[in-house]
C-alpha cells in the first residue's frame, strides 16, 4: 500500500463544545492512482486533505506513506491550495524556485535548480510569464503556477484542494485537461478534493464519496472504469461515463442530500 489513511477521526474542541468532523476514515491509495474525494460542503473533506498534508493532526488514527507514519507537513505531500497561495512579492519564477531551492538545495546544483524550475513552468505552459508577479496574471494562470510549484517538489503524493473551484467554467475545463495530461505524463499519485461531479468522473480512477457531517465518513467508493487518456468530448456520450456520473449524483442528491443548517 502506497498511501494509507488509517482509521482517522477528527474532533475539533472549542471550549466545552466538541464537534466531531470525521469518523473512522480508512482509505488506501495505490501509487500513481488519481483519487477524488467528493462530498457536500462542510462534510470535512478539506479537513481530511489537511490531515494527509500534515497541516492538521488527526484526533485518532494516522497517515502512512510508503510504510512510514507522517504527522507533520512536508514537500513529499505537496499541496495545491484552492486560492493558489502564491507569494505576491515574488515573481512566478521565484515562487517555484523557492520550492525548488528548499527541496533540492543539497541534491541539485544552482544551474540544475534553475533548469528544473523552468522545466516545471514549461509543464504548465507558464514560462512566458516567469518574470511576472501573481497580481499580473489571471486566476487560471496563478493556479497553473501553483501546480508547477507543487510538481517541482517531486512529491510522493500531490494533494489538490478544490484546485479549480475559484475559476470560471472555461478556464476550469482547460486546466482540468492540463492536469489530466500531466497525470498521464508524470504518473503522480493524486488526491483531489472536489465538489464537482463531472470533474471527479473525468479525472479520477476512483471517487470517494463522503457522507454529510457531523461525523462524516466514507459513504461509498466508485471505480471509474474509463481508459486513459480521456477525451472530454468523447466521454459525454460514453455509457460508462454516464453511469459513473449518475452513480455519484445519486449518492449526493438522493442518499445523502445536503442538509442546510437551519
Amino acid at each position: 500500500m502506497y498511501l494509507k489513511i488509517d482509521h482517522v477521526d477528527k474532533t475539533f474542541q472549542r471550549g466545552s463544545q466538541r464537534t466531531e468532523v470525521l469518523r473512522g476514515i480508512t482509505l488506501d491509495i495505490e501509487k500513481g492512482e488519481y483519487v477524488s474525494i467528493i462530498g457536500h460542503s462542510g462534510c470535512g473533506k478539506s479537513t481530511l486533505l489537511n490531515i494527509v498534508a500534515g497541516l492538521t493532526n488527526a484526533t485518532n488514527g494516522g497517515i502512512i506513506l510508503e510504510g512510514r507514519q507522517v504527522d507533520e507537513p512536508g514537500p513529499d505531500r505537496a499541496v495545491v491550495f484552492q486560492n493558489h497561495s502564491l507569494l505576491p512579492w515574488l515573481t512566478v519564477y521565484d515562487n517555484v524556485r523557492l520550492a525548488v531551492d528548499k527541496v533540492f538545495w543539497k541534491t541539485k546544483s544552482r544551474a540544475e535548480r534553475d533548469a528544473w524550475t523552468l522545466h516545471n513552468l514549461d509543464l504548465v505552459q507558464m514560462v512566458h510569464a516567469k518574470d511576472k508577479r501573481p497580481a499580473e496574471i489571471s486566476g487560471g494562470m496563478k493556479q497553473r503556477v501553483g501546480i508547477a510549484r507543487a510538481l517541482a517538489m517531486e512529491p510522493k503524493v500531490l494533494l489538490l484542494d478544490e484546485p479549480f473551484g475559484a475559476l470560471d467554467a472555461l478556464t476550469r475545463a482547460h486546466l482540468q485537461d492540463s492536469v489530466m495530461a500531466l497525470h498521464q505524463k508524470l504518473g503522480n499519485t493524486v488526491m483531489m478534493i472536489t465538489h464537482d461531479v463531472d470533474e471527479a468522473v473525468l479525472l479520477s480512477d476512483r471517487i470517494v464519496m463522503m457522507t454529510n457531517g457531523p461525523a462524516a465518513t466514507i459513504g461509498d467508493v466508485l471505480e471509474v472504469p474509463l481508459a486513459h487518456p480521456r477525451k472530454r468530448l468523447e466521454l459525454v456520450s460514453d455509457p460508462a461515463y454516464i453511469k459513473c456520473r449518475a452513480a455519484v449524483l445519486k449518492f449526493l442528491y438522493e442518499r445523502h442530500r445536503y442538509v442546510e443548517a437551519a
Binding site: G74, V79, S85, L98, A99
Partner: protein, 302 residues
C-alpha cells in the same frame, strides 16, 4: 509659453511637410514628434496642477499676513520684515563662529543626527519587539498592556528621567527620540505579523522553511506594508519630539535655536526656523514613503 510655441511649430511642420517630402516622411514625423510633445504637455500639466494652486494660496496668505502685521501695534513681524531680518541666515547657512553661534545648516544637521540615531535604534528594537509580540501569544499578553500604557506618555515627560539616567544632554535627547518613535513601530509590526495570511503560513509549513527562512521569506515581506506604516508614523513623531527636547537640553540644534531666538526676541528667526522644521519634517516623511514604495513593491494583495 515656450511649449505652445513648440506645439504650433510642430503642427505647422506636419501640415507643410507632405508637399516637398512625400508620403513616407509624413508617416515618420508624427511617430517621432508626438510622444515628445505629449510628454512635455503632460509634464507641464502635472506641474501646473500641482504647483500653481499652492503658489496662489501661499501668495494670498503672505498678503493677508503682511496686511495684518504691518501696522505699528502688531506683535509679530510681517513677511517683509522676516525676509529682511533673516536674509543673512538664509543665504549663509554654513557659518560657524564657535559655540552655539552657528548657521542654520549646523543646527538642523545636529538635530537630524540625533533623530537618525534615536530613530534607527527605535526601528531595530521596534521591529524586533513587534515581531515577538506578533508571533507569540504569551509575549502579546504580557507586553501589550504595558506598551498601550507607555505609548501614551508624552515625549517630554521622559526627558527628566532620561537626563537623570544619562546625566548628559546628548544621550538623553536621543533616548527621548527612541522612546517616542518606538511605539507605533512595535504596534504596527505586531499587527502586520499577526495578519500574515494562513495561506502563506501553510506554504511555509509544506516547504518546511526553518524559522530564519520563514522570517526573511514570508514574515518580513508579508508584514512590510504594516511595518512601514509604523516607521512613517515613527519618523513624524521623532521629528516632533526633537524640537521640544532640544529646547530643554540646549547646545546645538534647531530646537535650541528657536528657544535662543525667543530669549533674544528675534521673532523673525523663529518664523524662519519653523519653516525649516516643517520642510525637513516633510522631506523625512517623503524619504520613508519612497523607501517603503521601493521595498514593498509587489507586496500588494495578489
Amino acid at each position: 509659453m515656450n511649449m505652445t510655441v513648440a506645439k504650433k511649430k510642430l503642427t505647422g511642420e506636419v501640415v507643410s511637410l507632405p508637399q516637398p517630402a512625400g508620403a513616407e516622411t509624413v508617416v515618420q514625423l508624427p511617430v517621432t514628434g508626438r510622444p515628445v510633445l505629449k510628454k512635455l504637455g503632460a509634464f507641464a500639466l502635472t506641474a501646473a496642477t500641482n504647483i500653481v494652486p499652492p503658489m496662489i494660496v501661499i501668495a494670498l496668505l503672505l498678503g493677508i499676513w503682511e496686511l495684518l502685521c504691518s501696522n505699528s501695534g502688531a506683535t509679530l513681524p510681517p513677511p517683509s520684515t522676516v525676509w529682511n531680518d533673516t536674509k543673512e541666515l538664509i543665504f549663509d547657512p554654513f557659518f560657524d563662529r564657535g559655540g552655539i553661534d552657528k548657521g542654520l545648516f549646523w543646527h538642523l544637521s545636529a538635530s537630524l543626527q540625533r533623530v537618525a540615531l534615536g530613530y534607527a535604534m527605535a526601528a531595530a528594537a521596534g521591529i524586533a519587539l513587534g515581531t515577538l509580540v506578533g508571533q507569540s501569544t504569551w509575549a502579546m499578553r504580557g507586553l501589550d498592556p504595558i506598551f498601550q500604557v507607555l505609548r501614551t506618555v508624552p515625549p517630554l515627560a521622559w526627558l527628566p528621567l532620561s537626563l537623570a539616567a544619562f546625566r548628559q544632554g546628548q544621550p538623553a535627547a536621543i533616548f527621548v527620540i527612541f522612546i517616542t518613535s518606538i511605539w507605533p513601530i512595535i504596534i504596527n509590526t505586531a499587527v502586520g505579523i499577526r495578519n500574515i495570511p494562513q495561506d502563506y503560513r501553510n506554504v511555509a509549513l509544506v516547504l518546511k522553511l526553518n524559522p530564519l527562512e520563514y522570517f526573511y521569506k514570508i514574515m518580513v515581506p508579508s508584514a512590510a506594508p504594516y511595518i512601514f506604516t509604523g516607521l512613517r508614523i515613527g519618523i513624524g513623531l521623532s521629528w516632533l519630539a526633537i524640537v521640544a527636547a532640544e529646547m530643554l537640553i540646549g547646545g546645538v540644534g534647531i530646537g535650541f535655536f528657536i528657544w535662543d531666538a525667543w530669549n533674544s526676541s528675534h521673532i523673525s528667526e523663529i518664523i524662519l526656523s519653523l519653516i525649516y522644521v516643517g520642510i525637513v519634517g516633510f522631506v523625512l516623511d517623503r524619504v520613508v514613503v519612497a523607501v517603503s514604495s521601493i521595498v514593498t513593491r509587489g507586496t500588494a494583495k495578489a
